[in-house]
Protein backbone atom coordinates (compact mmCIF):
# COMPACT_ATOMS: atom_id res chain seq x y z
CA UNK A 1 0.00 0.00 0.00
CA UNK A 2 1.49 3.26 -1.05
CA UNK A 3 1.22 6.68 0.47
CA UNK A 4 1.94 10.15 -0.74
CA UNK A 5 4.31 12.64 0.74
CA UNK A 6 6.11 15.71 -0.49
CA UNK A 7 9.46 17.35 -0.12
CA UNK A 8 10.48 20.89 -1.03
CA UNK A 9 12.19 21.35 -4.35
CA UNK A 10 15.88 22.11 -3.76
CA UNK A 11 15.76 24.47 -6.70
CA UNK A 12 12.68 26.62 -6.23
CA UNK A 13 11.16 25.52 -2.94
CA UNK A 14 7.88 24.33 -4.40
CA UNK A 15 6.53 20.96 -3.37
CA UNK A 16 7.51 17.79 -5.15
CA UNK A 17 4.82 15.20 -4.64
CA UNK A 18 6.15 11.72 -4.09
CA UNK A 19 4.40 8.37 -4.15
CA UNK A 20 6.12 5.81 -1.95
CA UNK A 21 5.69 2.83 -4.27
CA UNK A 22 6.73 4.72 -7.38
CA UNK A 23 9.71 6.21 -5.56
CA UNK A 24 10.96 2.74 -4.67
CA UNK A 25 10.48 1.56 -8.24
CA UNK A 26 12.87 4.24 -9.46
CA UNK A 27 10.31 6.69 -10.85
CA UNK A 28 11.22 10.33 -11.21
CA UNK A 29 9.10 13.12 -9.80
CA UNK A 30 8.92 16.56 -11.32
CA UNK A 31 8.54 19.76 -9.37
CA UNK A 32 5.01 21.08 -9.23
CA UNK A 33 6.25 24.49 -10.27
CA UNK A 34 5.83 24.60 -14.03
CA UNK A 35 8.66 27.10 -14.38
CA UNK A 36 11.02 24.75 -12.55
CA UNK A 37 12.57 21.91 -14.47
CA UNK A 38 13.84 19.95 -11.49
CA UNK A 39 13.24 16.23 -11.52
CA UNK A 40 13.84 14.12 -8.44
CA UNK A 41 14.47 10.43 -7.96
CA UNK A 42 15.77 8.18 -5.23
CA UNK A 43 19.34 7.04 -5.59
CA UNK A 44 19.68 3.28 -5.93
CA UNK A 45 21.98 3.14 -2.91
CA UNK A 46 19.14 4.28 -0.65
CA UNK A 47 16.33 2.12 -1.98
CA UNK A 48 16.73 -0.68 0.56
CA UNK A 49 16.92 1.74 3.45
CA UNK A 50 13.81 3.62 2.34
CA UNK A 51 11.90 0.41 1.63
CA UNK A 52 12.57 -0.83 5.17
CA UNK A 53 11.40 2.48 6.59
CA UNK A 54 8.22 2.44 4.48
CA UNK A 55 7.47 -1.15 5.51
CA UNK A 56 7.84 -0.25 9.17
CA UNK A 57 5.63 2.79 8.64
CA UNK A 58 2.90 0.63 7.09
CA UNK A 59 3.18 -1.75 10.03
CA UNK A 60 2.81 1.18 12.41
CA UNK A 61 -0.31 2.37 10.59
CA UNK A 62 -1.80 -1.11 10.65
CA UNK A 63 -1.22 -1.44 14.37
CA UNK A 64 -2.72 1.99 14.99
CA UNK A 65 -5.85 1.03 13.10
CA UNK A 66 -6.12 -2.21 15.01
CA UNK A 67 -5.88 -0.47 18.34
CA UNK A 68 -8.76 1.86 17.48
CA UNK A 69 -11.05 -0.72 15.96
Amino acid sequence: MSFQTNIPCPDCGSNILIDSTLLLSGEKFACTNEACSAVLSLDESSITQVRDAFDKYEELKRKSQESTS
Binding site: Q4, P8, P10, C12, S14, L40, L42, A53, T68
Partner: protein, 216 residues
Protein backbone atom coordinates in the same frame (compact mmCIF):
# COMPACT_ATOMS: atom_id res chain seq x y z
CA UNK B 1 -54.33 -5.08 37.31
CA UNK B 2 -50.59 -5.15 38.03
CA UNK B 3 -49.03 -1.72 38.67
CA UNK B 4 -46.92 -0.21 35.88
CA UNK B 5 -43.14 -0.35 36.29
CA UNK B 6 -41.67 2.81 37.77
CA UNK B 7 -39.51 4.52 35.13
CA UNK B 8 -37.24 6.22 37.66
CA UNK B 9 -36.65 2.91 39.35
CA UNK B 10 -35.58 1.36 36.07
CA UNK B 11 -32.90 4.01 35.44
CA UNK B 12 -31.64 4.30 39.00
CA UNK B 13 -29.50 1.20 38.86
CA UNK B 14 -27.71 2.05 35.62
CA UNK B 15 -23.91 2.37 35.77
CA UNK B 16 -23.92 5.65 33.84
CA UNK B 17 -20.39 6.54 34.98
CA UNK B 18 -18.99 3.30 33.68
CA UNK B 19 -20.94 3.49 30.46
CA UNK B 20 -19.47 6.90 29.64
CA UNK B 21 -16.04 6.67 31.25
CA UNK B 22 -15.09 3.24 29.94
CA UNK B 23 -14.99 4.21 26.24
CA UNK B 24 -13.14 7.45 27.06
CA UNK B 25 -10.55 5.57 29.10
CA UNK B 26 -10.14 3.07 26.29
CA UNK B 27 -9.61 5.91 23.80
CA UNK B 28 -7.02 7.52 26.07
CA UNK B 29 -5.17 4.23 26.41
CA UNK B 30 -5.26 3.76 22.63
CA UNK B 31 -3.88 7.27 22.13
CA UNK B 32 -1.07 6.60 24.57
CA UNK B 33 -0.15 3.37 22.83
CA UNK B 34 -0.18 5.02 19.41
CA UNK B 35 1.95 7.94 20.58
CA UNK B 36 4.52 5.59 22.10
CA UNK B 37 4.57 3.45 18.97
CA UNK B 38 5.09 6.47 16.72
CA UNK B 39 7.87 7.85 18.87
CA UNK B 40 9.53 4.45 18.95
CA UNK B 41 9.17 4.19 15.18
CA UNK B 42 10.67 7.63 14.60
CA UNK B 43 13.65 7.05 16.85
CA UNK B 44 14.42 3.52 15.67
CA UNK B 45 13.78 3.99 11.95
CA UNK B 46 14.80 7.54 11.20
CA UNK B 47 17.73 7.93 13.58
CA UNK B 48 20.84 5.96 14.33
CA UNK B 49 22.88 6.02 17.49
CA UNK B 50 26.41 7.24 17.25
CA UNK B 51 28.34 7.57 20.46
CA UNK B 52 25.27 8.09 22.56
CA UNK B 53 23.83 10.62 20.14
CA UNK B 54 20.95 10.16 17.78
CA UNK B 55 21.82 11.20 14.27
CA UNK B 56 19.31 11.34 11.44
CA UNK B 57 19.61 8.65 8.83
CA UNK B 58 20.30 10.29 5.50
CA UNK B 59 19.15 9.00 2.15
CA UNK B 60 20.47 10.00 -1.23
CA UNK B 61 18.40 11.63 -3.94
CA UNK B 62 19.26 12.53 -7.49
CA UNK B 63 18.16 15.85 -8.88
CA UNK B 64 18.10 16.47 -12.58
CA UNK B 65 17.85 19.99 -13.95
CA UNK B 66 17.49 21.12 -17.49
CA UNK B 67 20.08 23.43 -18.94
CA UNK B 68 19.36 26.12 -21.47
CA UNK B 69 22.31 27.41 -23.44
CA UNK B 70 22.80 31.14 -24.03
CA UNK B 71 21.55 30.71 -27.58
CA UNK B 72 18.30 29.27 -26.29
CA UNK B 73 18.95 25.66 -27.22
CA UNK B 74 18.68 22.83 -24.74
CA UNK B 75 21.90 21.69 -23.17
CA UNK B 76 22.79 18.46 -21.45
CA UNK B 77 20.73 18.07 -18.26
CA UNK B 78 22.72 18.42 -15.07
CA UNK B 79 22.38 15.72 -12.44
CA UNK B 80 23.42 16.23 -8.88
CA UNK B 81 23.03 14.21 -5.72
CA UNK B 82 21.98 15.43 -2.35
CA UNK B 83 21.29 13.84 1.00
CA UNK B 84 18.01 14.16 2.78
CA UNK B 85 17.01 13.00 6.24
CA UNK B 86 14.81 9.93 6.02
CA UNK B 87 12.48 11.52 8.55
CA UNK B 88 11.39 14.17 6.06
CA UNK B 89 9.86 11.74 3.58
CA UNK B 90 7.93 9.69 6.13
CA UNK B 91 4.46 11.22 6.49
CA UNK B 92 4.53 11.11 10.25
CA UNK B 93 1.35 12.40 11.68
CA UNK B 94 0.00 11.98 15.11
CA UNK B 95 -2.53 9.26 14.62
CA UNK B 96 -4.89 9.40 17.53
CA UNK B 97 -8.47 8.93 18.54
CA UNK B 98 -9.92 12.37 18.02
CA UNK B 99 -13.60 11.68 18.38
CA UNK B 100 -15.49 9.43 20.76
CA UNK B 101 -19.26 9.35 20.77
CA UNK B 102 -21.23 7.39 23.29
CA UNK B 103 -24.84 6.82 22.52
CA UNK B 104 -26.95 5.31 25.19
CA UNK B 105 -30.54 4.69 24.56
CA UNK B 106 -32.74 2.84 26.92
CA UNK B 107 -36.39 2.26 26.55
CA UNK B 108 -38.44 0.82 29.31
CA UNK B 109 -41.81 -0.09 28.03
CA UNK B 110 -44.22 -1.52 30.47
CA UNK B 111 -47.77 -2.29 29.73
CA UNK B 112 -50.34 -4.39 31.45
CA UNK B 113 -53.50 -5.55 30.00
CA UNK B 114 -55.84 -7.99 31.55
CA UNK B 115 -58.86 -9.10 29.67
CA UNK B 116 -61.47 -10.96 31.54
CA UNK B 117 -64.22 -12.50 29.63
CA UNK B 118 -66.63 -14.54 31.60
CA UNK B 119 -69.57 -16.31 30.22
CA UNK B 120 -71.32 -19.41 31.37
CA UNK B 121 -73.32 -21.71 29.29
CA UNK B 122 -75.88 -23.90 30.72
CA UNK B 123 -78.53 -25.58 28.80
CA UNK B 124 -81.63 -26.98 30.35
CA UNK B 125 -84.66 -28.15 28.61
CA UNK B 126 -87.96 -29.10 30.01
CA UNK B 127 -91.12 -29.98 28.26
CA UNK B 128 -94.48 -30.94 29.57
CA UNK B 129 -97.63 -31.86 27.74
CA UNK B 130 -100.89 -31.56 29.52
CA UNK B 131 -104.06 -33.10 28.29
CA UNK B 132 -107.31 -32.79 30.15
CA UNK B 133 -110.63 -34.11 29.04
CA UNK B 134 -113.99 -33.49 30.58
CA UNK B 135 -117.19 -35.17 29.52
CA UNK B 136 -120.45 -33.58 30.58
CA UNK B 137 -123.33 -35.32 28.86
CA UNK B 138 -123.46 -34.23 25.32
CA UNK B 139 -120.52 -31.94 25.75
CA UNK B 140 -116.99 -32.92 25.90
CA UNK B 141 -114.11 -30.56 26.56
CA UNK B 142 -110.58 -31.45 25.82
CA UNK B 143 -107.69 -29.21 26.68
CA UNK B 144 -104.20 -29.70 25.41
CA UNK B 145 -101.30 -27.80 26.90
CA UNK B 146 -97.60 -27.79 26.33
CA UNK B 147 -94.83 -26.14 28.39
CA UNK B 148 -91.21 -26.08 27.44
CA UNK B 149 -88.16 -24.36 28.88
CA UNK B 150 -84.72 -23.84 27.27
CA UNK B 151 -81.75 -22.15 28.96
CA UNK B 152 -78.11 -21.75 27.79
CA UNK B 153 -75.19 -20.23 29.74
CA UNK B 154 -71.55 -20.03 28.53
CA UNK B 155 -68.53 -19.20 30.70
CA UNK B 156 -64.88 -18.48 29.67
CA UNK B 157 -61.92 -16.57 31.15
CA UNK B 158 -59.02 -14.92 29.29
CA UNK B 159 -56.04 -13.06 30.78
CA UNK B 160 -53.29 -11.19 28.86
CA UNK B 161 -50.11 -9.57 30.24
CA UNK B 162 -47.43 -7.78 28.20
CA UNK B 163 -44.09 -6.22 29.26
CA UNK B 164 -40.90 -5.26 27.36
CA UNK B 165 -37.51 -3.67 28.05
CA UNK B 166 -35.10 -2.38 25.43
CA UNK B 167 -31.56 -1.07 25.81
CA UNK B 168 -29.15 0.17 23.15
CA UNK B 169 -25.53 1.12 23.78
CA UNK B 170 -23.42 2.47 20.92
CA UNK B 171 -19.87 3.73 20.95
CA UNK B 172 -18.39 5.49 17.92
CA UNK B 173 -14.65 5.88 17.92
CA UNK B 174 -12.88 7.77 15.18
CA UNK B 175 -9.15 7.96 14.77
CA UNK B 176 -7.82 10.97 12.96
CA UNK B 177 -4.71 12.98 12.58
CA UNK B 178 -3.68 15.46 15.17
CA UNK B 179 -1.17 18.18 14.42
CA UNK B 180 2.36 17.17 15.16
CA UNK B 181 3.91 18.53 18.30
CA UNK B 182 5.73 21.81 17.74
CA UNK B 183 9.10 20.26 18.58
CA UNK B 184 8.79 17.52 15.97
CA UNK B 185 7.63 20.04 13.36
CA UNK B 186 10.62 22.24 14.10
CA UNK B 187 13.02 19.31 13.70
CA UNK B 188 11.45 18.28 10.40
CA UNK B 189 11.47 21.89 9.13
CA UNK B 190 15.13 22.21 10.02
CA UNK B 191 15.97 19.01 8.20
CA UNK B 192 13.85 19.98 5.23
CA UNK B 193 15.59 23.34 4.95
CA UNK B 194 18.85 21.45 4.52
CA UNK B 195 17.68 20.29 1.13
CA UNK B 196 18.62 23.67 -0.28
CA UNK B 197 22.14 23.64 -1.74
CA UNK B 198 24.96 25.57 -0.20
CA UNK B 199 26.29 28.23 -2.50
CA UNK B 200 29.95 29.10 -2.32
CA UNK B 201 31.10 32.65 -2.83
CA UNK B 202 33.72 33.10 -5.55
CA UNK B 203 36.44 34.63 -3.34
CA UNK B 204 36.92 31.87 -0.81
CA UNK B 205 34.46 33.35 1.60
CA UNK B 206 32.49 31.32 4.10
CA UNK B 207 29.91 29.06 2.57
CA UNK B 208 26.56 30.75 2.38
CA UNK B 209 23.36 28.92 2.31
CA UNK B 210 20.95 29.96 -0.34
CA UNK B 211 17.57 31.06 0.73
CA UNK B 212 14.65 29.46 -0.89
CA UNK B 213 11.16 30.74 -0.96
CA UNK B 214 8.55 28.18 -0.19
CA UNK B 215 5.42 28.41 -2.23
CA UNK B 216 2.38 27.19 -0.51
Amino acid sequence: MTALVSMAQQFSGLPIKSLIAAPLNAATDANGRMARAQTQFMLSTCFEKEGGELKPIMIKFKLTRSVVKPDGTAGTPVELSFDLPLLTIIPLNSLAVDDVKVHFEMEVKSSNSKDNETSSEQETAAKADITAKYNAGLFSVEVHGSVSHNSKTTSSSKEHYESSNQAKYEIDVHAGQLPLPKGVTTIIDAFTANVAPIQLKPTGAEPQKTTTTKKT
